[in-house]
Symmetry: C2
Subunit: 126 residues, 2 copies
């Protein structure tokens, strides 16, 4: 199953070791730059939060257990290292202008490919 990037996300984190573990740091700001071809997918966007689905292109896809605790499998964690390095980060939205979303709460390495944006489950319109 082939995923095409729909854009990239700019963040303050240049390496995987700088990027925070998800959910523990929620103040870093970042920018999702959506490719123009997908801009219509943001029509009517007015939510205060967004789920960013991104691809950890620097993650090790060969591991099935955690380096820090080999008794735990990767599916018990949210570590980016896993067979399909699809990561999920829910961010607060600062503003949206055209195909650019400024957000708060990023944990991706700078330049990571974005594969999807979704409404938060807190948004009950589905």
């Amino acid at each position: 199953m082939e995923c095409d990037p729909i854009g990239i996300v700019s963040t303050p984190f240049e390496t995987t070791s700088e990027a925070p573990s998800q959910g523990f740091h929620e103040d870093a700001a970042g920018v999702v730059h959506l490719d123009e071809a997908y801009a219509a997918g943001l029509s009517g966007f007015d939510a205060s939060s967004v789920v960013i689905v991104w691809w950890a292109d620097r993650a090790d896809r060969s591991v099935l257990t955690l380096d820090r605790d080999p008794s735990r499998g990767v599916f018990t964690s949210r570590s980016p290292a896993r067979p399909n390095p699809v990561c999920i980060t829910e961010c607060d939205v600062i503003d949206v202008e055209g195909s650019t979303l400024r957000v708060r709460g990023v944990d991706m390495v700078d330049g990571s490919p974005v594969i999807d944006l979704k409404a938060s489950l807190r948004d009950r319109r589905g």
Copy 2:
């Protein structure tokens, strides 16, 4: 970016029209059948909930706005129809046996490919 299925999920929903909109029905039970090659990824699994990342292989990838409201882009929703039909469903775990997870709260069409399992954000070990 190529995603390989790590298993499939069995659910009571045979068609997309039968499958409930995410978050609105939370009682349907389903079973994740992980491929044996990925079973080690479940080692030590003891959580009461799990995030299932699945591929909506019957979704229309060509749309950027919602059929039900063309003023809204797909990225304002959680509809499976979107450029990369990666879907996220958080389920309660009934039990785990080997590479089989019985869960509650499914909304996938029966037989959908699973591409990842993650700890819930409620699990603060990350």
